[in-house]
């Protein structure tokens, strides 16, 4: 098996307000023997600026790829947006010689050159493809047996298929398998692969809340006790904004939203405190009590 060593790309949303994801991811990675190297320098993956300037997005993403290339490390991200963007740019620049020349022309100004020698992995892709389900399963000490959850993949870990090429975007099963190896049951529900809506919350705060509300309703309908996410942006939509959705629609959800790494961490035997459960907006105490964690 290849060495499990990656350059960790944190992105912007996690350090800004979703530290529970980082805390739990680092714990879980350590347990699995994954070595995470910090970025020597950081800049945004470029995704939020794509609507303003496609060239700037390409260049910012490529700059991060170059920094990882210099250290001969593959990139691992916790954010699906960062993963999707850098995967897409990595692939496009490798395939499109003209575009690569253009971007390298920009990067030259800062002494960098994109070569296309590394890979970009999202957390769940790394877990499923590089670490392997069996090896993860072997670290489970406290199976989360009675627990029933629902999953939300996040668009950019699945689509566009042409660039991502991971799992089946119409019927994704990898995250479900990762969840079920913890002993928790992962339930099917309506419109599982639907977007959380978060990317447009800065221009329209009505539609994203409607979308998120619909998802929460769908997972409540099947009796899920928690929603499991693998993206800080999606997490923000369902956790941070859940009380706002409750107020706007005069409904009550109270559905804890966990990062996959928190769920796995619990099964590995870490305490909720070690996994940043205190940072969650929607209280998960009831769920934790039931698990005896």
């Amino acid at each position: 098996m290849a060495e499990l060593k990656y350059m960790l790309f944190l992105g912007c949303v996690i350090p800004y307000r979703i530290s529970s994801y980082e805390i739990s991811a680092r714990k879980v990675a350590e347990k699995l023997g994954i070595e995470l190297v910090e970025m020597p320098e950081f800049n945004c993956c470029g995704l939020p600026l794509d609507p303003v300037s496609h060239d700037m997005m390409l260049t910012l993403a490529a700059r991060n790829l170059c920094l990882a290339e210099q250290q001969k490390l593959n990139i691992m991200t916790l954010c699906t947006g960062c993963a999707g963007t850098m995967r897409k740019v990595n692939m496009t620049l490798k395939e499109d010689k003209k575009l690569k020349e253009k971007v390298n022309g920009y990067l030259k100004e800062t002494g960098l050159e994109f070569k296309g020698t590394i890979k970009v992995r999202h957390l769940i892709q790394m877990l499923a493809e590089d670490v392997g389900l069996e090896r993860i399963k072997a670290t489970v000490q406290k199976p989360l047996n009675p627990l029933k959850v629902a999953e939300h993949n996040g668009c950019h870990v699945l689509r566009p298929t042409k660039y991502i090429g991971f799992d089946d975007p119409e019927n994704p099963t990898i995250l479900k398998n990762l969840i079920e190896l913890t002993g928790a049951k992962c339930l099917d529900y309506m419109d599982e692969t639907e977007c959380c809506g978060a990317p447009i919350i800065g221009v329209n705060d009505v539609i994203p809340l409607q979308l998120a509300r619909e998802k929460l309703n769908h997972i409540m309908a099947v009796g899920a006790q928690a929603l499991v996410t693998v993206c800080p942006f999606c997490h923000m939509m369902y956790d941070l904004h859940q009380s706002r959705i409750e107020r706007a629609f005069n409904e009550k959800f109270g559905i804890p939203v966990l990062h996959y790494t928190q769920l796995l961490g619990l099964a590995m035997g870490f305490s909720p405190d070690e996994l940043g459960f205190k940072e969650l907006r929607v209280n998960a105490t009831k769920l934790l009590d039931q698990l005896g964690s």
């Binding site: 350090p15 320098e41 800049n43 939020p48 060239d55 910012l60 990067l107 800065g202």
Partner: protein, 184 residues
């Protein structure tokens, strides 16, 4: 949402009669040159994009099929000045489902880039952009967060090379977009 937004959304939807003088026949060729938007002419208006679009289900104005047709017709001014193009969440469902592989989300991105060129930029993107230029991060990370990381046993955040970002911003033309732009 602002009142202007409501007005514009209505305009995009309700003006059923299109004057020939409004149409710019060169617009589709202009769009076609942009990476990712090459296949604009292939849209045959089947409507799969709109039918599968999560935003369209909750919006009265956002219709990707309509935007593709308007682009083909060259209704440049109507499209670029409209807030509707800023409603795509980039979930890429339309990209995956389009039978003609039109790459709708990339075309909408191209339209947004052109709108910014024309001076229309939603405030949120101005903020994200200037934050990346100032700090490398898309959001301003408060000092409190940095201190909390230490308490939580997390390593310090990697620093940005702001000079490098500024250089890249200049050569890509990004800096210029932020000078004296009105906010849409």
């Amino acid at each position: 949402m602002s009142e202007t937004k409501e007005t514009r959304e209505k305009e995009l939807g309700e003006k059923a009669v299109i004057k020939v003088s409004e149409m710019d026949p060169r617009f589709k060729y202009e769009i076609r040159k942009i990476p990712g938007a090459e296949k604009i002419m292939l849209c045959f208006q089947c409507g799969t994009c709109t039918a599968d679009c999560p935003i369209a289900r909750f919006s009265d104005s956002y219709r990707p099929r309509k935007l593709m047709r308007m682009t083909q017709l060259g209704l440049k001014d109507r499209i670029l000045s409209s807030d509707v193009i800023w409603l795509c969440a980039a979930c890429f469902t339309c990209v995956d489902h389009c039978p003609q592989d039109v790459g709708i989300a990339s075309i909408i991105r191209a339209l947004r880039n052109l709108a910014v060129d024309e001076g229309f930029i939603p405030r949120v993107y101005k903020e994200l952009g200037s934050c990346v230029l100032k700090t490398g991060y898309a959001y301003r990370i408060p000092e409190l967060r940095h201190r909390k990381r230490e308490e939580q046993g997390l390593p310090p955040l990697p620093k940005a090379n702001v000079e490098s970002i500024a250089k890249l911003s200049d050569v890509t033309g990004f800096s210029k977009l932020f000078e004296e732009k009105k906010v849409a």
